[in-house]
């Protein structure tokens, strides 16, 4: 058994160090930073100035930060509903015996393997292009002149075009998770239900959905994490200056910590507070999800 001990230590040590350096230490330090002000991220702790909750209080009073929060929550809620709806729908369609299943699955997942920057270019310069773009052409062909004139990259529409583009790419990923969830469901439930005369729709609502609770939990967690980290799409939609339709907390943090166009001071403490607030959001949603989908049923 002694041998095993050395082995356990040798094998876990590198990963443990990674965890301590890459996750535990930064989390603790970020938490502490959020109660201080400092001139630069790399300043040593002795030069920090304690300000209590002032960073948080200021953030909550900053209207552009609140706009960023609002954008993020809207993406989470509306995008989330859309993404989960389509992901589940496709997963159900694909598990109901369509032909060439792996072909459809591969193409729907495809956007996830493309660099977001590359993919965003496609949306901006082709699909949403207001004079020659794909959507414009479709509406123009249908004779819907008014719709064909929509400007997707200005005003409120800018938020929605961003939301749609981002969500579209996410559907494939969540569809895969649903797919594997559904495929693991025990077939005999369905057979019994079919014998009892339940139709497909009833089966879906009474068997599939309840059994997918665990999968939903996973999906909500992953979706939350990906929305909280929302950054590159926002940068692509507003490449010159951040804008209120597309700003998210990460973008705001990037601006105030690394100092964007404004001639303003850099505020790492405030940036850390943004980080902590984001972590709290994740925790809160995690907690709610766990309450909502209590694991009193079967687990897969």
């Amino acid at each position: 058994m002694k041998k095993n001990k050395t082995m356990i230590i040798c094998f876990t040590l590198p990963a443990t160090i990674v965890f301590l350096v890459m996750f535990l230490y930064p989390v603790i330090r970020t938490a502490m930073m959020s109660f201080f002000t400092m001139a630069s991220v790399s300043d040593s702790m002795s030069t920090w100035e304690f300000v209590g909750l002032a960073n948080y209080a200021e953030l909550l009073k900053t209207s552009i930060f609140m706009t960023a929060m609002k954008n993020m929550l809207m993406i989470w809620l509306i995008g989330g509903i859309g993404v989960i709806f389509f992901a589940l729908l496709f997963a159900v369609i694909l598990t109901n015996g369509v032909r060439a299943k792996s072909f459809w699955r591969a193409i729907i997942y495809l956007p996830n393997i493309i660099s977001a920057v590359a993919f965003a270019n496609m949306w901006i310069y082709y699909i949403f292009q207001k004079r020659f773009g794909m959507i414009h052409n479709i509406f123009a062909t249908l004779g819907l002149d008014k719709l064909a004139r929509t400007d997707y990259m200005n005003g409120d529409m800018k938020f929605w075009s961003l939301l749609i583009a981002f969500s579209f790419g996410s559907v494939g990923y969540f569809m895969l998770i649903f797919l594997s969830g559904i495929e693991r469901l025990p077939q005999d439930y369905y057979e019994a239900a079919t014998i009892d005369g339940a139709n497909k729709l009833q089966q879906f609502f009474h068997i599939t959905l309840p059994l997918l609770k665990g999968v939903f939990k996973t999906i909500l967690t992953f979706w939350t994490v990906s929305v909280v980290g929302f950054f590159v799409w926002s940068q692509m939609w507003s490449p010159v200056n951040s804008e209120s339709q597309t700003i998210t907390p990460v973008v705001y943090m990037y601006n105030i910590v690394f100092g964007n166009t404004g001639m303003s001071e850099r505020m790492p403490g405030k940036g850390a507070a943004v980080g902590i607030l984001m972590a709290l959001v994740v925790l809160l949603i995690f907690f709610l999800v766990n309450r909502l989908f209590r694991e009193d049923d079967l687990e897969f």
Binding site: F11, F19, T30, V41, I108, N121, T194, V225, V232
Partner: protein, 292 residues
């Protein structure tokens, strides 16, 4: 119906009634897929076109013929070759070392009970859901203190760190599912546990390792935020921020055909891997998804 369900598993005979029921499903799939494919094909078309044609919406007419020289221009003068090589370095080294660190750890976590096992394995699960925004600031501070900013090493280290929790968690299931008889047999042959791991268990877990490796490779290849903050100079940029910088300078240099050629070049490696190994990649997603 029940009988049919079973038949389906063997081989699907054509059944008009069944197929008819699926028509709405097919329609939806076709619309979605057609949209994706059209949009991607447009990028391909644009990459062979010229700026005025792209900007005037005449991409698909190819009035001035094909322009494959866009690719040459993108590769060398737009610096894509630098970004491309960087991404390759980050992805290959990052993936390799991640597995080197994660595989032994996940094996031990899956096989042995010891003090701290639970703590460590749940720590990794928690780490997977920590937003990056929460950890970048101290890491940036650390990197500058170690004078690693502006080097490739820092990015490789960070990518390894970022992938370790997921990889370890993913591989744990793999090792847990391997039969213990292998180790027992090895022990009888006088093979030490460590040796057993490297010689026997690692090869056995290869399907899982390849899957998670490809998945990590793609993630690192397409990564943006970390590369932007820590590698913010042309010679260290990976393809994501690199493309973005090409895009910003595009406003001034105006070679949009070159930009889209760059997009295709960046997209190709992951696409080829995907075409060849899509089953593996998909397995990677779902494996991680279920565990998380």
């Amino acid at each position: 119906m029940a009988k049919k369900e079973k038949e389906k598993k063997v081989r699907e005979p054509f059944n008009a009634k069944r197929e008819a029921k699926l028509i709405p499903g097919y329609i939806l799939l076709i619309i979605w897929v057609a949209f994706t494919v059209c949009a991607l094909l447009w990028i391909v078309a644009a990459s062979f076109s010229t700026s005025p044609e792209i900007m005037k919406g005449q991409t698909l007419k190819f009035a001035s013929g094909l322009h494959p020289e866009n690719y040459a221009a993108a590769w060398s003068s737009n610096n894509i070759k630098v970004f491309f090589m960087n991404s390759a370095i980050y992805a290959v080294l990052g993936t390799f070392f991640t597995i080197l660190i994660s595989a032994p750890c996940s094996y031990v976590l899956a096989r042995f009970t010891f003090l701290g096992n639970k703590v460590l394995s749940s720590s990794f699960i928690v780490a997977m859901s920590i937003p990056q925004i929460m950890i970048v600031l101290p890491l940036f501070g650390l990197a500058t203190k170690a004078h690693l900013t502006g080097t490739k090493i820092i990015l490789i280290l960070l990518y390894i760190g970022m992938q370790v929790p997921f990889t370890t968690t993913f591989l744990m299931t793999f090792f847990a599912n391997l039969s213990r008889t292998y180790e027992e047999a090895a022990a009888i042959d006088g093979c030490s546990p460590m040796k057993t791991f490297w010689k026997i268990m690692m090869p056995l877990a290869q399907p899982g390792i390849v899957t998670v490796g490809i998945f990590n490779f793609m993630n690192i290849w397409n990564e943006y935020f970390i590369s932007l903050i820590f590698g913010a100079t042309e010679k260290n940029m990976s393809v994501g921020p690199g493309l973005k910088s090409v895009l910003t300078s595009m406003q001034y240099t105006g070679n949009w055909g070159g930009l889209f050629a760059a997009v295709i070049i960046v997209f190709l490696p992951t696409f080829i891997i995907y075409v060849v190994l899509s089953e593996k990649i998909i397995a990677g997603v779902t494996g991680g998804g279920i565990k998380g």
